[in-house]
Amino acid sequence: MNSSRPLRVVVVEDYGILREELVHFLALNGFEVAGVNCGLGLDDWFGSNARPPDITVLDLNLPGEGGLEISRRLRTTYPEMGIVMLTARKELADKLIGYSAGADVYLTKPVSGEELLAVLTSLHRRLKPQPTSAWQLNLARTMITSPTGLGAELSANECAVLAGMARASDQIADSTELLLLCADDEGGLNKGYLGVLLTRLRRKLAAISPIADSHLIRAVRRKGYQLLISIEIR
């Protein structure tokens, strides 16, 4: 667990030993975890806790209200919450019903602790992305933001080229490929145009970069251009 605040998980499982083991295992791995045995127990937990769980691990065969009904209810009330269904039902039809009832992940018993851990961590990463120290490229707003929060407006072609380099293997993109990403508004797409565009881009990035005189984009001989900063595209 990398986040500062522990991930909050509620395990809804009627089989006592399994519930106990799940709670123990998740607590051992740094989760803030509680176990309840049915839908009513879950309602009681919600009643006594102001903040909802980040993820609910839900069995399907439960006494009283079934897991699918609980899932539908939770999905409507807490759309941001992660729901992991953990059940012995392995049929495809059951899985499809599970997903349509709101499951983010459908796991079939028996699943190992390591796999469950990986699923919960991955789901949490998707649901609550942690702030990172990477540069942010917003394609819709054609804007680049540095880790310090400073932003610079980019042209559409600058955006496309920057995104193209960020996506490429080792962030090295071929010049021809980068040119293909550009819109030919000015009627002169060639290596000279790309050189000018990259110079402009370097200047804009350097202006907002936290490290002065840092190399942000470099030419790689016979390969093209390499982006030297990590960028998250949104």
């Binding site: 399994l18 083991e21 123990h24 012995a88 392995k90 028996p110 190992s112 602790g113």
Partner: protein, 477 residues
């Protein structure tokens, strides 16, 4: 008032009446002989009926019934040629007994709740005694025999009507018996009033024997049909029972697998916790946890296999054939990606594609590889390869999994795919003896076949043959 029209109508009615009476003036003696012969033929017909269910007792009873009736009619037809005590006083009791046996056979066939055997035997006994004691004139003979016949037919008919089941054939037969009982009662009454003897020509005699003859024909065919109907019903009941048992078994397996999976999951999670908590402990301590994990995985695989077998037995698996690239399928198998994957040497070419249900193909191939991993000698390679093969004049591919076992220990080919069969070298490894059986069943469902070849050196090859897409689709088209 005399009307010429009504006179003409009266004349026509009289003519019609005369024609009917003339038709009904039958030679009773000939009829009796025909009934005697007819009963023998009927007896033979029923005798040769092969019932899939065990109707032996009913058939025997019916056959004896017809035999006694044949003897009865035969003796009665010889009235005048043989002494009266033989023809009438012995012939009629034979007839009563034969009818009673026929009725008992029918009642047993339909498992009527009303037990009339005792009553019928009583009528036969009482009727025979009455015949011997009181019937000293031809008319009285007819009175007593008809009355006993009426009692026999009507009580049997009513008993059958009250039996379980809603067979129309049974209802029709029972109704005919009751109606014939009434006709015999009328004959008994008229015999006294009109002094009718056994062979006397009289409309009621003709009606009686015509119905009797019809009963001989219809009754025999009816009995056969009733047996067939009873057999069909038994078959339906048996199928229904089997279905119910399967449903019950399926629910039981569902419950069992559900509970076992939950319990296994508890063990797996406990193992994961222990593994973390024992980190830094000597390897012989952590090995215990690894063994718990491996044993849990084996148990989980057995549970899954039992579930698949149960679905197969219920003929439940739905097949969705599609073009499957073998390399893609094999490289994504759990067993290939698992820890033992390094032992596998895979040589499948590139673009070999078969027509199969991907999920079922994966189950089959996982089983084969699992089997090879379990039984191959330690540190020996396991080879997976594919060859083109024409099967039943259709192009296809043979996917083989080859491994090495100890010399002279390769299982017998006849037993390899037998359910629950486990080889002599299987006592050290976990298993059910279901994997290969399941694999062959699944590959056959997809239009393919499974083969096994083992030699004295211990080389074991199990192959799955599946059709190529174009050939199978062409055939379907």
């Amino acid at each position: 008032m005399f009307s010429p029209i009504s006179a003409a109508v009266d004349s026509r009615v009289e003519l019609l009446g005369t024609a009917v009476m003339s038709f009904l003036e039958l030679d009773i003696r000939t009829f009796l002989k025909l009934l005697s012969i007819g009963n023998l033929v009927a007896m033979a017909m029923v005798f040769v009926y092969k019932s899939p269910e065990n109707h032996a007792n009913r058939i025997r009873t019916f056959v004896f019934g017809r035999l006694f009736q044949s003897m009865g009619f035969g003796l009665i037809s010889l009235r005048g040629a043989i002494p009266l005590w033989i023809s009438a006083h012995l012939g009629n009791p034979f007839l009563f007994f034969g009818i009673a046996l026929e009725m008992i056979a029918l009642r047993r066939l339909y498992q009527s709740r009303v037990r009339v055997e005792g009553l019928l035997i009583f009528w036969v006994g009482a009727g025979s005694l009455a015949l011997w004691r009181f019937a000293d004139t031809p008319a009285l003979l007819v009175v007593v025999s008809s009355f006993v016949g009426a009692l026999l037919y009507s009580s049997s008919g009513l008993s059958l009507l009250r039996s379980a089941g809603s067979s129309r054939l049974k209802t029709l037969t029972s109704t005919i018996f009751v109606v014939f009982g009434i006709i015999l009662a009328v004959r008994s009454y008229l015999a006294q009033a009109d002094s009718i003897g056994g062979t006397t020509s009289h409309p009621i005699q003709s009606v009686t024997y015509i119905v009797q003859f019809s009963l001989l024909l219809v009754g025999t065919v009816g009995f056969l049909l009733l047996m067939k109907e009873a057999d069909d019903q038994l078959l339906l009941d048996s199928e229904r029972r089997e279905r119910e048992e399967r449903n019950l078994q399926s629910k039981f397996i569902d419950m069992l697998t559900h509970e076992l999976r939950a319990a296994l999951m508890a063990v797996k999670i406990s193992s994961s916790s222990l593994k973390q908590q024992l980190m830094g402990q000597p390897p012989d301590v952590t090995k215990r946890v690894d063994n718990i994990c491996s044993a849990t995985d084996s148990m989980s695989a057995i549970v899954d296999r039992c579930r698949e077998i149960e679905r197969l037995d219920r003929e439940e698996p739905s097949i969705h054939l599609s073009e499957c690239n073998l390399l893609d399928v094999v490289m994504n198998l759990d067993r290939v990606r698992g820890p033992e994957g390094e032992r596998l040497t895979i040589n499948l070419g590139g673009a070999e594609t078969v027509l199969a249900d991907r999920q079922l193909l994966e189950v089959g191939l996982n089983n084969l590889i699992d089997n090879a991993i379990k039984y191959a000698l330690p540190a020996t390679p396991i080879q997976i390869y594919c060859t083109a093969e024409v099967r039943n004049s259709m192009p296809g591919f043979r996917i083989s999994v080859e491994n090495q076992v100890a010399a002279h220990t390769a299982p017998d080919a006849a037993q390899m795919f037998v359910r629950y069969f486990r080889g002599a070298n299987a006592h050290n490894v976990s298993g059910t003896g279901l994997g290969l059986y399941l694999t062959r069943a699944l590959v056959r469902l997809q239009g393919g076949e499974a083969h096994y070849r083992g030699d004295a050196e211990g080389r074991v090859i199990i192959s799955l043959c599946l059709p190529a897409p174009s050939s199978a689709q062409g055939e379907t088209a």
